[in-house]
Structures are given as C-alpha cells and as structure tokens.
Amino acid sequence: MLDLLKKPVETFQEFVLLAGRAIRNIFRSPHYGDDIFQQMDIIGVGSLPIVIMIGFFSGSVMALQMARALATYGAQGQIGQIVAITLVRELGPVLTAILVAGRNASGIASELGSMKVSEQIDAMRALGTDPIQKLVTPRLIAIAVVLPLLTIIADFIGLIGGNIIASTLLSITASQYWTSAWQALEYNDLVQGLVKPFAFAIIISLVGCLYGIRTTGGTQGVGKATTQAVVSASVWIFVTTFMITKMFVRI
C-alpha cells in the first residue's frame, strides 16, 4: 500500500520543488524575454483560432440545451443569464484550459523531453545556464499571461454564439439577451472566472515542464512523458476547478 503511494507523493514533491524554483526565478536575473514572447506567440496566438471555435460552439450548445428547460417555466427570456453564468464561471475557463493542456502541455513535455534525452539539458547546465530559468520560467510566465486572455475571448465569443441561437431559433432580441446576460454577472463571477485560468496556467506549464524534464528512456520515454503530461494536467484542472468553485460558492 505504501509502495503504491510512494510514486505519486514523490511526483507531487518534485512538482512543488519545481514550482518553487520556477517562481523564485521570476524575480532573478538573467531574464529571457525573447523566450517569453516566443512562448506567448506559440501558445497564445497559436491557440486563438481553436479557442474561438470552441467558445462559439459551447455558447451555442448551452443556449440550445437550456432553451428547453427554460421553456418549461416560460422563462426563455433568461437564456442570456444562463449562458453568461455557465460560460464565465465554468465552461470558458475549463474548456480553454483543457484545450491548451492538450495543445501545449503535450508540446512542452515532448520538447523538453527530447532535449533531455538528447542531453541538451545537461549541455545547458554545462554551458552555464539554469534550465529552469531558461526553459520553465518563460513558459510559466507566458501561459499565466495568455490563458486568462484566451479565456476572456472564449467567454465573449461563447456569449455571441448564444446570442445567435437566441435570436434565430428562440426569437429573443439581442438587447434582451445581452441585458439579461449583463445583469446576471456579479463581481464574484468575474473574479472566479479569472482566478481559474490563472491557476490552470500554473498547472499546465509546470506539469508539462515536469514530465518533460524528468523524461528517461529515449524516444519511447518522450512519448510516455507527453501522454502523462496531458492526462495529469487535465485531471488536475478538474480537481482544481472543483476546489476553487467550492471556495467561491456559498450554499
């Protein structure tokens, strides 16, 4: 039983250590600004088209699904409210994070994993560079900046998707829709909707880097690291969203 627990506990310990070193490096020189911007471009700009797609369709689907339920109570006019709350609080942050985890936690793990098995990370240390400073910290900063932005975009596009469904299929006017959506959102929802992507950003970047950096066993090991990174990042995103929601929601 103890042996079974040993590995996850060790991994978690490594994660905490890596997080500590990566965050401490944010305040230390040298800073690799070019790497930060390059990663922002790869992760932020690169994910934009697919984030827009996902945002649009998740908003539309929410509007369609909820329309029937609301019709039971004759409250179809409140569709904007439902779409806004689900998107901003939950769907926007989680779907965007899952998407970025699939795209970039895997990308980071395989890139760093390949560097590890081809001794580039050792070479970096031998040539006077701290791999955490050069590889991990820039990715952490880049994702922490772009993921909240991507989430805001996904939320907004999702609301537009909901609007299109509401006006075309449910004959609700745009002003009715947006007023209901706007009035539904409270300060609490917005904070929650931005704290989540920030926490997910830390998970995605550090899980990707951790599995990449501890890769062993050649190219096969790189494949394994990539899979593990996506699986762990996704699971932790759901666990974290539950914990954050629990903190914000008082029943």
Partner: protein, 279 residues
C-alpha cells in the same frame, strides 16, 4: 613529476541510483596535458564518470576535485565558474536544435556568467563572430555558420560540439564517445581535431570511446602544425618524453584496469581483453 595540482582528482567516488551502482569507489588523477582513454561495456558508468567530473551529477560518497577545488558539495550557481574552464562534448553533440550552428558555438561565451563578463568587457559583436568563425574553422566547418544542427550530418554535429566546447579555451576537455556511430574516416578526422586541440593548448583530456583505434591514435600520434596533419610520435627512447596517455577499462561502475597501451595489450583478464586490439 612534481606535485602540480591535478586537473581532475576523483577520491573514492561512488554514485548510486536506487539499487544500481553507477560508480563504485572510483579514484584517479589527471594532470595538465595528460589524456585518459576510458573503455567499457554499455552501462559500465563511463558517461556518469564524465558528468561527475563536470559537476552535473553529485557523488553519494567520496570527493571530486577539479582544478584543485573540491566540487563535491558546491551549489549549481558556484559550479558555473568551474564549468567555464571545462569543455564537454556530449554523446550526440548535445547541440541546441532551436538555434543555428553559429549561435550554438557562441552560446558558452554569451551564457557562462564568468566568461560573459570577461567577454563583454573586452569585446563586442564583431569579435564574437570572429571567435565563432575561428572555432568552426578549427574543426574545418567554417562554412556552416547559418545552418541548423538538424541540417548537418552526425559527424559534423560532433565537430560542432567540439567547436562549442573549445571556444572557451578550456583547460579540461571531456569527450563522451566522440566517434560512436561514425565511419572510420570521419572518426579519424574527429580524433585528429582532438589531437590538434590537445597539442596546441596542452589540454587535459578525458575520453570515453568504444574504438580501440581512437585510443591508439591518442597514445601514439600527435598533431604536426607544419603539415597540418597527424603523425606518429617517435618512441620514448628518442624523445625522452614519458607516455602521457593512459587507458582505463570500466566494468559495472569500477575501474578494473589502468595502464599503458602495451599493458592493455598484455592484459590477461577476459573482460579487459575485449577492449584490446583485434589482430
């Protein structure tokens, strides 16, 4: 020989990974201008020994001295100063895929904290370009500056790795399997470059290899700057110089043989005999 401080000194060093022993009570000394050729089966601890000498892995017991300084318990930040004086050629070259060859070779000058300061004080971009060009010309690759590591052959990558290691003019060179997986002609070219580096600057050299021929060239040949080629060194009787290349054989983390080329040829141990010349 006087008691000049050894460049590398392993004092009873052991390293373990879980249950496997990577290095088992290894002790040796290496002085300036000397070479050590390390043979051994796969997994016998050769690469770990090289990495330990550069402070990339820490010993579990014993002590390691580099340039007379005890590096056993140094922190990563303190090791950079030592590593600035060590050139390391990794097994596959260890080049960074994402930057071109010129930037790879310039990397240590711009990133080693101590070298960076020195470099920025006396030089600017032009001298950086010149030094990169010079290092690449040394390994006969002066024309490849703009290419990326993935665009050149394995032998060229290895030579770029050597250029990157020697651009800092290190006093200690560590070559991890410089000829593995290369054809005999390319291999001999690489050893010629290594000999040239050793003769020109009296560098201390540790070399891991699988090829007997590499060791033989290191022990019996030297670089002649006039003919720009390597030539056989006359026997000790004529030069009065002592053999400065020694052969080590490793097995399961231990050094099981230390001696000259002739002693290796005469060895009785069946494991050690695997690494002598096949005639």
């Amino acid at each position: 020989m006087e008691e000049a401080p050894a460049v590398v000194h392993f004092d009873d060093v052991s390293i373990r990974y879980g249950d496997t022993v990577a290095l088992d009570h290894v002790s040796f000394k290496l002085h300036p201008g000397e070479s050590r050729i390390i043979f051994g089966a796969a997994g016998s601890g050769k690469t770990i020994l090289m990495k330990a000498a550069a402070g990339l892995v820490k010993p579990d017991s014993g002590r390691i001295f580099v340039f007379g300084q005890d590096i056993t318990h140094l922190k990563e930040g303190q090791l950079y100063e030592i590593r600035a004086r060590i050139g390391f050629l990794f097994q596959e070259g260890g080049l960074f895929d994402s930057i071109n060859i010129a930037d790879n070779v310039a990397y240590p000058l711009l990133n080693q904290p101590t070298l960076r300061h020195k470099f920025l004080e006396n030089g600017h971009d032009k001298s950086l370009h010149d030094r990169v060009k010079e290092a690449l010309t040394f390994v006969e690759l002066g024309h490849t500056l703009e290419k990326y590591p993935s665009q050149v052959s394995g032998g060229m990558r290895r030579r770029v790795g050597i250029a990157r290691a020697l651009i800092t003019e290190p006093a200690l060179m560590l070559y991890d399997s410089p000829t593995a997986g290369l054809d005999p002609i390319t291999s001999n070219n690489i050893i010629a470059v290594i000999l040239k580096e050793r003769e020109t600057r009296n560098t201390a050299t540790l070399m891991v290899t699988h090829r007997y021929q590499d060791g033989h060239l290191m022990a019996k040949f030297r670089y002649n700057p006039d003919s720009e080629n390597i030539e056989q060194v006359p026997p000790v009787a004529e030069t009065g110089k002592h053999q400065r290349t020694r052969f080590y054989v490793m097995n399961q983390g231990r050094i099981v043989f230390k001696g000259s080329e002739e002693e290796l040829q005469a060895a009785e141990d069946p494991y050690v005999r695997k690494f002598r010349r096949r005639s």
